[in-house]
Amino acid sequence: MIPAGSLLHAVALHKAYGRTPALDGADFSLHPGEVVAVMGPSGSGKSTLLHCLAGIIAPDSGTVRYGDRELTAMSDAERSALRRADFGFVFQFGQLVPELTALENVALPLRLNGTRRRDAERQAREWLERLEVDTVADRRPGEVSGGQGQRVAVARALAGRPRVVFADEPTGALDSLNGERVMSLLTDAARDTRAAVVLVTHEARVAAYSDREVVVRDGIAREGVAAV
């Protein structure tokens, strides 16, 4: 049964890479506007869970529903269109297009969704200001620091006004001060725009920016247990 008001809901996800199981019956649900941390040791299946939830990979079995649509029954093209329209992504590194400036990178998802260049660039500049990196608007990813690059990536993820942001170890390559600033800006901006966030992290201090946590162990996801 789908929990009332759930935006994204996965049931009994199984996924194996060759003979190695990554997900072994994982369940997950996400409500609009909430920030959920997906935690667990390396190799527990947490990134695979995120990729299945976001429709990047298809599970071997199980279902993922987004609103009233079933991701697992969509074609690749339909899932791709859904990701562009409704989802935003922040990864550990490497997601910015190296040939484009920070401004062009942030404007890219808006342009792909049909926004006119001038409007896309105006909105992109506002997002860069919001993420405190408007000073590097005209620089390419190779010319900015790791912390600045990650803020540009957050700006890009949020610029298309997604309903869900998928963040996979977004602070993994940053020092603690930069990591915390990125988390603070990401979660503030997501809450303001009512975007839900699925945050994969193995760092407790990063998970502390979430509303609740789900722990993945041996391919099974467990909700945080309330203390008695």
């Binding site: 040791p41 502390a208 162990r217 247990v225």
Partner: protein, 174 residues
């Protein structure tokens, strides 16, 4: 925390009344636990007895007399020695959590669930501290960071223990 040394340190910048000392202490160090007046006055009597402070002035008023305290040379030396001395790191060996995990395994209860419950509780506290950091000033941020790093260390231990539960079960049941 040594309240005596902290009050002495506050007196180094100039003489203060007991009430001012309490206010300065609470402002800088007493976010969660403000000092009681009783603690201030009992600490000052001890410091007075040990010659680390002296009464600099007494003001008579409608209520009880107000003493103003000043630090002595011996007091300044004492603060300097305290600041220069390394604190003893506490390794927390044989912590309650470790005991609970071992006992759960020995009595064949679910130790993994115990660790999950503890993780949730640690994260709940960490969320509160993170929120306080977001809204607080720099002093708040530093105090919360200190607590957060310690809680994070506990959590790393929890994860490591969770990963080694099978081996630990074998060891304690042998």
């Amino acid at each position: 925390m040594s309240i005596g040394h902290t009050l002495l340190g506050l007196l180094e910048s100039g003489p203060r009344h007991g009430y001012d000392l309490k206010r300065a202490f609470d402002e800088h160090f007493g976010h969660d636990r403000p000092l009681h007046y009783g603690q201030v006055y009992s600490t000052m009597s001890r410091l007075l007895k040990n010659g680390l402070v002296e009464v600099d002035a007494v003001e008579a008023g409608a209520g009880p007399e107000r003493k103003r305290y000043a630090i002595t040379d011996a007091g300044v030396t004492d603060v300097a020695q305290w600041l220069a001395r390394a604190e003893k790191p506490e390794p927390y060996l044989q912590s309650t959590l470790y005991t609970k995990v071992v006992l759960a395994l020995m009595t064949r209860r679910d130790a993994a669930e115990l660790l999950d419950t503890q993780r949730t509780e640690h994260l709940r506290l960490m969320r509160g501290l993170t929120e306080r950091k977001r809204t607080g000033d720099l002093a708040d941020q530093l105090i919360c960071d200190h607590a957060l790093f310690h809680l994070e260390a506990d959590l790393r231990w929890l994860e490591l223990t969770a990963a080694r539960l099978d081996k630990l079960a074998e060891a304690v049941r042998a």
